[in-house]
């Protein structure tokens, strides 16, 4: 089932709220279950299971191995475990947000929230161009190996500054061509068209969206009333 990007943003904000607020363990568990269910409905049962498993593991560790905090190691360890448990909801919310939402849906939602065109267009370009860049990075590393300029990928870490010169100069100097080509495509496909843009995936809120948004309100209210 598909969720509206607005709903996904609400969940991200809610997860941040829960992260910042001081909530009880019971609340935490309920919330993790809730996010997992959202992931299930969103079509990522695998991710939901993994997150539930991680949470249980962290919970288990914090009541067993790190029950007593006395020396430096247990302080660092328990800090990481408690912190990890804490940040898990925001990671789950992020997974929920990224998966199964198209760029065009985000664009449409951001436009509805009156985010200006000057922000939306660069954002679209980032989404479009980032995969190309990672591809370029792989090719540059290959080229460096053929040239004997590095012996392995690890050599890049040893000389980060030289590495950055090798990696960034070809990328930056090809930006001019890419910018011209992408601008032409963007213009000829009418992105500068004034007025409302629509999304092929629709942008109305469905029943499921209302349910999720309402439950989010309950979660926030519940923090004060029950917890």
């Amino acid at each position: 089932m598909r969720f509206n990007p607005l709903t996904k943003l609400v969940i991200i904000v809610l997860a941040t709220f829960v992260f910042l607020a001081n909530v009880s363990l019971m609340y935490e568990i309920v919330f993790i279950v809730f996010l997992g269910i959202l992931l299930l409905i969103n079509g990522d049962p695998y991710a939901a299971m993994i997150y539930w498993l991680i949470f249980s593991l962290l919970l288990l560790l914090s009541v067993t191995v790190f029950k007593n905090i006395h020396d430096t190691w247990s302080i660092i360890g328990s800090f990481l475990i408690i912190g990890g448990r804490r940040i898990l909801p925001t990671i789950m919310a992020a997974t929920f947000a990224i998966k199964h939402t198209h760029v065009s849906e985000w664009m449409r939602s951001l436009q509805r929230m009156h985010v200006p065109f000057d922000i939306i267009l660069p954002l679209v370009v980032v989404f479009r161009f980032f995969p190309t860049l990672t591809d370029n990075l792989k090719n540059i590393i290959k080229a460096l190996q053929f040239r004997g300029l590095i012996s392995s990928k690890l050599a890049l870490i040893v000389h980060p500054i030289r590495a950055i010169e090798y990696v960034l100069i070809p990328m930056i100097s090809s930006a001019d061509t890419v910018a011209s080509e992408l601008s032409s495509v963007v213009i000829t496909r009418g992105i500068s068209h004034q007025g409302i843009h629509t999304s092929i995936f629709g942008d109305h809120l469905r029943f499921i969206d209302y349910i999720v948004i309402t439950s989010s309100i309950f979660f926030i209210a519940g923090r004060w009333l029950i917890d």
Binding site: G148, I169, P170, E181, G190
Partner: protein
């Protein structure tokens, strides 16, 4: 429908177009031909308005559409454009979104959009493309998607800039059919291309552009009757479909400069992909300039990565001059000239790039002279043209003593003149003590360059073509 009257275009005092007069009628296909740099793309960009609005420069003269001065307020619904480079022709990550993009931008309602996509996809039998990621498509599939997205708003005018330059024969045939459909629907189509064979039966007029001027306009009738004559007169090439017909012969070599590369029972598989290399026996030597061809996904790039040691093979042996080398040693002996050659140039001058810091010997300088690089030594490599960058990359390989040089699609985005120059450069290079392997789908280029071509299909070598054995050639349907 569209008329250009006494149009001139200049940029930084360079006169790019002069006195262009041109009429485009509804339902007609106009082909702009001429060598690269003749100004044929500029004519397209002036009609589209990208010149001067995006590319700058100074345009004078009159451009009218429907007897009215052209206004470009509503691009997407007036003009469908397809550009040359399939890699940078899309904005969305998947085909479905890409097709919808132009319609979304004019604010069409969801129902109409879905309906239109449905129609277009059925029309072009592209159902299997619909849910694919753009990055996974071949050049031909991307170009097809680009043309389909250009049709979504049913514009009356289409402008296609070198649409065939990165396509193989099958994809060009598909393109031809798509253009024919547009013509039959009554749209005007203007195409700038150096390949003409697929347009002969399609075009209503051919406009030959040379050095910024219109040299002549040829009607369809004239072209049919006097094709050969006109071709010679106006230096038009590619009037017939290319076939794999190798013209180069093998190179005589002494045993002392012989380089061999063999692979036996070579197998490779990505973790969970089905992409697979399965080669029983492969024997290559520098008696040939070797071409590797085959459809996208046939395993060409995987094979060359295996042969150059970039990735590790799972089974089998690779022998270099009869010896089994470690992967590192293979990498040390080989060099890949990439398609995006700018990604393999790292230094601030060509000289440093080539010498890697050491001094150039007299012999090195002779080599650079033969690669026509001497004048470019002080330039920054990234400021060079595509062909020049390729030559710099080749020079770095030769000067560092590489024995195997592989070129991956070296002619992509290249016009005919540069393609010929590259071919004669390779003819010159093959005298050196190196083994040259060229991966390309460009049959014309393979014809004039290679003496042996391996055709790959599903990770296997299905056919080996040599000058004497033509009947094994490519099946193009």
């Amino acid at each position: 429908m569209i008329s250009l009257h006494k149009v001139n275009y200049s940029q930084n005092k360079n006169k790019i177009l002069q006195d262009i007069n041109l009429n485009i009628w509804p339902g007609e296909v106009t082909v702009l031909c001429g060598e690269s740099g003749s100004g044929k793309s500029s004519v397209l960009n002036i009609i589209s308005g990208l010149i001067p609005n995006l590319y700058g420069g100074n345009v004078t003269g009159e451009i009218r559409a429907h007897h009215e001065p052209l206004s470009f307020d509503d691009y997407a619904s007036e003009i469908g454009m397809v550009f040359q480079n399939p890699k940078s022709q899309f904005i969305n990550p998947d085909v479905y979104s890409e097709l919808a993009f132009a319609m979304e931008n004019v604010g069409m309602d969801q129902k109409t959009m879905i309906q239109r996509i449905d129609n277009v996809v059925n029309y072009y039998h592209a159902q299997d493309l619909l849910n694919r990621a753009m990055f996974d498509l071949s050049g031909g599939q991307r170009q097809m998607t680009a043309l389909m997205s250009a049709t979504m708003l049913k514009p009356p005018l289409y402008l296609l800039d070198e649409p065939s330059s990165n396509l193989d024969v099958t994809a060009i045939e598909q393109l031809r059919r798509q253009i024919l459909d547009l013509k039959n629907e009554g749209s005007s189509v203007i195409i700038a291309d150096h390949r003409l064979y697929y347009l002969i039966d399609l075009a209503d007029q051919f406009v030959v552009i040379d050095n910024g001027h219109i040299k002549c306009q040829i009607s369809r009738q004239e072209m049919r009757e006097n094709a050969t004559l006109l071709a010679t007169k106006y230096r038009l090439r590619n009037l017939t479909a290319p076939r794999l017909r190798l013209t180069k012969t093998r190179i005589m070599r002494n045993l002392s400069d012989l380089i061999t590369l063999e692979a036996h029972n070579l197998k490779f598989r990505y973790h969970c992909h089905e992409s697979l290399i399965d080669i029983k026996s492969l024997e290559l030597s520098n008696r040939d300039v070797i071409g590797i061809s085959g459809e996208n996904g046939a395993g060409k790039s995987t094979l060359i990565q295996l042969l150059t040691g970039m990735i590790k093979h799972h089974e089998g042996t690779i022998l270099f001059n009869g010896q089994q080398l470690s992967r590192k040693q293979l990498v040390k002996n080989s060099f890949l000239v990439m398609q995006d050659v700018h990604l393999q140039l790292f230094f601030e001058t060509v000289e440093k790039e080539i010498s890697n810091g050491s001094r150039l010997t007299e012999q090195d300088r002779q080599l650079l002279e033969s690669l026509k690089l001497t004048k470019l030594l002080k330039r920054h490599p990234q400021t060079l043209s595509g062909g020049e960058k390729q030559r710099v990359a080749i020079a770095t390989a030769l000067l560092s003593g590489k024995k195997i040089i592989v070129m991956d699609e070296p002619t992509s985005g290249m016009d005919y003149g540069n393609m010929q120059r590259l071919s004669s450069l390779i003819a010159h290079l093959k005298r050196a003590e190196i083994l040259l392997i060229i991966v390309s789908h460009d049959q014309e280029f393979l014809n004039m360059t290679c003496s042996k071509v391996l055709i790959m299909n599903h990770g296997r070598i299905t056919t080996v073509v040599t000058p004497d054995n033509m009947n094994g050639g490519i099946h193009n349907d």
